[in-house]
């Protein structure tokens, strides 16, 4: 690619270290999906609006489609695949499934990670706070009603 040089980058994803060779113009989203085959993180807009590409970097939700892979070396990256512990679902995942907060499932990984990060920061959010925190995650199927119910159920339990 003209003058672009591939470099070795080291990424810490879901507590595992990956060493790979990448061009600087690769986004974190592309590397996760194409190189690491962690396809749970999705692209639905490519411009940071829809939230489907949301991952956690050092616990903070970011848009992986607007993040250069080369720029997040040394950070702890968490994708949806990193949420469950062994065979057991994380309580946020469990709540989404139990409350019918998932229909087609395309927005779900981003929605779940954003909810997870919200509850870590604020274990008992109000409905307004939940809707605000999820306002950058677009769902075309559910109308958000049961997604909010799922997160609320965790808020009440203080999980």
């Amino acid at each position: 690619m003209n003058e672009m040089k591939k470099t070795v980058i080291t990424l810490n994803v879901n507590n595992e270290t990956y060493e790979l060779v990448a061009y600087p113009n690769r986004t974190l989203l592309e590397v996760l999906r194409d190189d690491l085959h962690l396809t749970g993180t999705k692209e639905s807009c490519g411009e940071g609006v829809c939230g489907s590409c949301t991952v956690l970097v050092d616990g903070t939700p970011v848009r992986s489609c607007l993040t250069l892979a080369v720029a997040v070396q040394g950070k702890e990256i968490t994708t949806i695949e990193g949420l469950r512990v062994g065979e057991k679902l994380h309580p946020v995942q469990e709540a989404f499934v139990n409350h019918h907060a998932i229909q087609c499932g395309f927005c779900s990984p981003g929605m779940i990670l954003t909810s997870y990060a919200l509850l870590k920061e604020d274990p008992r959010p109000t409905e307004a706070a939940i809707r605000r925190a999820l306002s950058g995650n677009i769902c075309r199927c559910t109308g958000y009603a049961k997604i909010v119910e799922a997160v609320k159920s965790l808020a009440e339990e203080g999980k």
Partner: protein, 324 residues
């Protein structure tokens, strides 16, 4: 969406960054949060040779409160500004603006410097090749026509940043550094009011800090933004107000800055502080530019600028009353 090829620069300190842009100048585009630059690159509106990541520069983020001024590092994340107790208490409009930029996750990534220096926008410019191929080149793309306003000799792209209007309302100053020298300018001087080249910053300069002078006396501030949804969207119209009063509740300063009203935030000169709200709103309306190049018609957006002006001033005054 694929980014175009580029070479990646990651300076570890400001000096290194300044050396790099001194050498490469226009060939470098600076990436802070990445939420503005990378989008424009994906659309192929710009294809820089170098992308310089300043996100890791130390001494460029944080909020430092002093006796006479508060200094905000240009790399400070909008979320941190929105949540900072000091900003909420002393500079409420700034917190309001920061919390309303885009959506919560974007504010985790976006920086105040990046938000100030975002490019102007227009529905006929911020498009992919699929739309632009086959259209004449507009002024902003280096051409000679305006696609939004037929026959226009100049660009009508709109500055939609949320932070600059509120910082202007607080009379903020900006520190611009280049290799070997530093200059400090009023934030107003950053803007050229020209949609094609919106900023008066050298290709070898870096915005490092924003200084907010301590306001005098008793004051209040507010930011009001219009968008069709409660999140994600850029402002279609906005107004920032700063009002200060004496102990006897006499207004000493009333500073209104409107946004999404042209290629730069505009300060509404209030003839005197006795001016009534309707007159100020009318003045805002007259200053505001609004053509049909964003989501809502220009005529509507101009009207909203005047409505938001009134609301921002009222909210600023309420803020004062609450504090009293």
């Amino acid at each position: 969406m694929r980014l175009p090829p580029f070479q990646y620069l990651e300076p570890t300190n400001v000096e290194e960054a300044l050396s790099m842009i001194a050498v490469h100048k226009e060939a470098v585009k600076i990436m802070a949060g990445g939420t503005d630059l990378l989008n424009r690159m994906k659309l192929r509106l710009i294809k820089p040779t170098f992308v310089m990541n300043i996100g890791k520069l130390r001494n460029m983020d944080g909020i430092d409160s002093g006796d006479t001024e508060t200094v905000i590092g240009a790399n400070t994340r909008l979320k941190d500004i929105a949540g900072a107790p000091l900003i909420n208490k002393k500079f409420r409009a700034i917190a309001e603006a920061a919390s309303r930029v885009a959506s919560p996750t974007i504010t985790n990534m976006a920086t105040v410097g990046g938000n100030i220096l975002q490019n102007t926008r227009c529905m006929y410019y911020d498009q992919s090749r699929m739309v632009l191929n086959g259209l004449e080149r507009c002024h902003k793309r280096g051409g000679t026509v305006c696609l939004a306003v037929k026959g226009s000799q100049r660009c009508f792209s709109v500055y939609q940043g949320d932070m600059a209007p509120v910082l202007t309302a607080f009379d903020a100053r900006c520190i611009l550094e280049r290799k070997g020298s530093t200059r400090t300018v009023s934030i107003r001087e950053l803007f050229t009011n020209n949609g094609v080249t919106p900023f008066a910053i050298g290709a070898d300069e870096l915005l490092t800090k924003i200084i907010i002078p301590k306001p005098e006396g008793i004051y209040g501030s507010a930011y009001r933004k219009l968008r069709l949804r409660g999140s994600v969207d850029y402002p279609l119209a906005s107004a920032a107000a700063f009002v200060s009063v004496t102990n006897n509740r006499k207004v000493t300063t009333c500073r209104v800055v409107i946004g999404a009203s042209g290629a730069a935030p505009k300060v509404i000169d209030v003839a005197s502080c006795e001016t009534d709200l309707e007159e100020i709103a009318q003045k805002a309306y007259e200053c505001a530019e609004g053509v049909d190049n964003l989501q809502m018609p220009g005529a509507y957006r101009r009207k909203m600028v005047s409505v938001l002006t009134k609301r921002a001033i009222k909210a600023a005054i309420n803020g004062i009353k609450e504090g009293m």
